[in-house]
Symmetry: C2
Subunit: 211 residues, 2 copies
């Protein structure tokens, strides 16, 4: 049975720890991770090609013109995009590709890749989410309220996701996401060729036995 590469889109509430989940998932299960391109300046410690592909505005716009992104968006004055080549090359090799991406981008991906698997990482409950945001200790009440408002709005998009996985215990969450990706590869609709081959082979073998 041929295994095709799965395109896995991971989103989640701000503060839910999805970055950590994705990092651990890649380390433990060796999925291919798509690195976004951006025009924003690198922050201290960020490595080009690892954290982001850093581009000038001119380079980025040129890539848009050449259909170089499977999705892109502009926030304030910076561009962010998912490079097409890496994703399509990995999928063609049969590798599963992880994209960590915002809700809007996730919806654009689903339009172009209907087989993409959309996973939303969530918290056990709203209280826990609030505590995690407060736990960062760097943000004041107003900022936290703003993030909770955004989370509130994002609940409207949750039904568009195929799976909701709770990040309560990190290791459990990572294994849960891995189980989802593994299970997706067994979906019958992805194996029409296998079913047709099986049918033909069984017909031929039976004929041979009876002859």
């Amino acid at each position: 049975m041929n295994k095709k590469g799965e395109l896995i889109v991971i989103s989640g509430f701000s503060g839910v720890g999805k970055g950590t989940v994705v990092k651990k998932l890649i380390e433990k299960y060796h999925y291919s991770l798509s690195v976004s391109a951006t025009t924003r300046a690198p922050r201290p410690g960020e490595v080009d090609g690892k954290d982001y592909h850093f581009k000038t505005v001119e380079e980025f716009r040129n890539l848009i013109d050449y259909n170089g992104f499977i999705e892109w968006a502009q926030y304030v004055e910076n561009y962010y995009g998912t490079p097409r080549k890496y994703v399509e090359d990995e999928l063609a090799k049969g590798n599963d590709v992880i994209l960590e991406i915002e809700v809007q981008g996730a919806m654009h991906i689903k339009e172009q890749y209907p087989d993409a698997v959309l996973i939303f990482i969530t918290a056990p409950n709203a209280k826990t989410l609030q505590e995690r945001l407060e736990g960062r200790g760097t943000e004041e009440g107003k900022v936290i309220a703003k993030r909770l408002k955004r989370a509130y709005e994002e609940t409207d998009d949750m039904p568009q996701y195929d799976y909701l996985v709770v990040n309560d215990d990190l290791d459990t969450c990572v294994d849960d996401v891995h189980a989802v990706i593994r299970a997706e590869s067994f979906k019958t609709k992805k194996h029409n060729d296998y079913v047709n081959n099986m049918k033909e082979e069984l017909f031929a073998i039976r004929k041979e036995i009876l002859s």
Copy 2:
């Protein structure tokens, strides 16, 4: 997030080893296994309540009249059925229930329980299936041809199953089936209540912070 019990239907080609897969799955992951009722006589070594619930024809027909089965069928002169009470009790407790059942029965289950997860255990290819049937050593060519004919017919029903899992290596197959069941519990459509609660809670918390 409340976890509801999943109803898992496992079918597969004759000779594919699905009985062994189910046995190992129950041992390793402690799923609840539904035991069928039948009117056929126990074979040597078979234990009432473990291999089957052995019933008289009168008892069985009475159970049909009282809606005691979620599906039943008659093969030659024997009845076979899946007792309703065990399945519904386990699901109500939030336990996942495994049914090992023929293709026709699986379709009846899906009609009544649209959320049931249908898994078809298959072989890497037809040649392997033939070899396994021959490897039993107890059956002659005609019987094997008959089983392969049945397998050929069953390929028509494979697209009705949600997942196809290949039994090449037994342990891998068992873990693959387990991953499917685990993943199913995260399907967004099964967690509408969670999403609605999250929305209400986030709204209330944000209001509290801003007040």
